[in-house]
Every structure is written in structure tokens, then in C-alpha cells.
Symmetry: C2
Subunit: 141 residues, 2 copies
């Protein structure tokens, strides 16, 4: 198991949550994924691994992980929400509209500065933001 998955489990336990097979499997699926996963993708992975989880369970689990700050929700253009573990550094995503590949984009200092500037101008207190790029990846362009 990856370090991020381990840390996530620790964080959960210290929040009154219990360690179940489904939960462990969901976290591991997210930890091993290269890109944010949708609920149905997570469900597919669990099924492939022989962990029979219900659809509702997966949704509830993903919601619980988000609430606990262990996972973050991202929305691209498709309808389904996607989830990734919150372990690493703050980053954004570049989504290829042709091959659907998702690559991480490290947070840019100027970007954050621009956000603070915007917040100051408008009196808006920013809690979080979304910033995603859509276009063609190096292979598809």
C-alpha cells in the first residue's frame, strides 16, 4: 500500500470512523490511480478485485472521504464528479479533450497571487477554487 493510503487510513481512524474492507479498497483504488476517479470507476475497480461493494456504499464512502479532507472532488466536463486523495501538494489538472488523459499541473505562485488579488478586490473570502485546463496533450496536439 502506498504511503498516502496508509496516512489516509490513520486520519480516518482518529475520527471515529471504522476500518472496513470496502473503505480500505476505495482508498487503495484512489491511491493507486493515475488520475481522479469517478464513483463508477471506483466501483469497477472494487468489483475486479473481488470486493463486492454496493453502489450506494461507494458514493457514501467517497462523500465521507471528502468531508474528512482525505479526498478532494474535482469536476471536469463530463457529468460525473471525480475524486482523488488529498495527500500531495496542491495542484490542478490538464485534461486532453481528445484522449481524455489527465495530467497534474503544479500550482503556480502567480495563480495563487492572482486569486488573492481577486479576493481582495471583491470582498470575497475564498475557501477553495477550481482551475482546470482543457485542450490537447503533447501526444495529441
Amino acid at each position: 500500500m502506498k504511503k498516502t493510503a496508509h496516512a489516509a487510513l490513520e486520519k480516518l481512524k482518529s475520527g471515529g470512523r471504522r476500518l472496513t474492507a470496502a473503505r480500505r479498497a476505495v482508498i487503495e483504488a484512489l491511491a493507486e490511480a493515475e488520475a481522479p476517479l469517478s464513483a463508477s470507476e471506483v466501483l469497477g475497480i472494487l468489483v475486479k478485485r473481488g470486493v463486492g461493494a454496493d453502489r450506494a456504499t461507494v458514493y457514501r464512502e467517497l462523500e465521507a472521504l471528502s468531508e474528512a479532507g482525505i479526498a478532494v472532488t474535482v469536476r471536469f466536463e463530463s457529468r460525473a464528479a471525480r475524486f482523488e486523495l488529498a495527500g500531495g501538494a496542491h495542484h490542478h489538472h490538464a485534461v486532453c479533450v481528445k484522449c481524455e488523459a489527465v495530467s497534474d499541473v503544479e500550482a503556480d505562485a502567480e495563480l495563487e497571487a492572482a486569486e488573492r488579488r481577486i479576493a481582495r478586490r471583491s470582498g470575497f473570502k475564498v475557501l477553495r477554487h477550481s482551475f482546470e485546463l482543457f485542450g490537447l496533450c503533447a501526444d495529441c496536439r
Copy 2:
């Protein structure tokens, strides 16, 4: 009718599209809205005005407007896509997580510069991006 709505109709006509009651009503609804509208909100407005439009028609219309570049799609945290007329300057949105108010945020030159820098670093050709702020508006903070 607002100027933006008028311009949108002109743009449509010069694209082989026809001017129907439903189309006119959808465009007017978007033109008069203070914030991006979801399909069901648009439908609600049409019904209130006595323009009996079918759900499928509204969806098709919004899609057509997006394809024509007359409307743009934005996604906040909720599931439904939202639409606004593309008339004005490029901008982003600040969404209050408490009162749900949406205010426009003018595009920031630094933001765009950061985007170009990111694109250059990664070999990614950016076609469009999303940037939305979530937090507390001046009234709710």
C-alpha cells in the same frame, strides 16, 4: 430585449438556424439572468412566461447555443451544468457557498499569463479553462 440577446439572435440567423419562439425565449432568459442558469431553471422561466417548451428542447437549445459560441457552459459544485451568454468580456465566477450568490470576476492578466506559462512547461495546448472561486461573499462572510 437586451443588446446581448439581439446580437445572439443575429449570430444564429447567419448560421442557418431558425428563429423560433422557444429559441427566442431561451436566449432572453439567459440575457436577463444575473447568473448562469441551469437547464431546469431555464425551463422554469419559460413555463412561467407561458412558453410551453419541452425539456428536450431546452437541452438541445442550450447545446446548440454553446456550439455556436453564443453561450458558454460553466460547472460549479452542483451536478447540473449552467449556461450564460458569451457576450461580455471573458470572466470567471465567485460562488458563495452559503447564499449561493454568483458574482462575476473579471479576468486577471496574471491569471492568463500563469496559464500560458503552465501550457509552455507541459507541452499542453490549452483550448479553454475553468476557474471558479468558492467561498463566502461580502454579505455572508
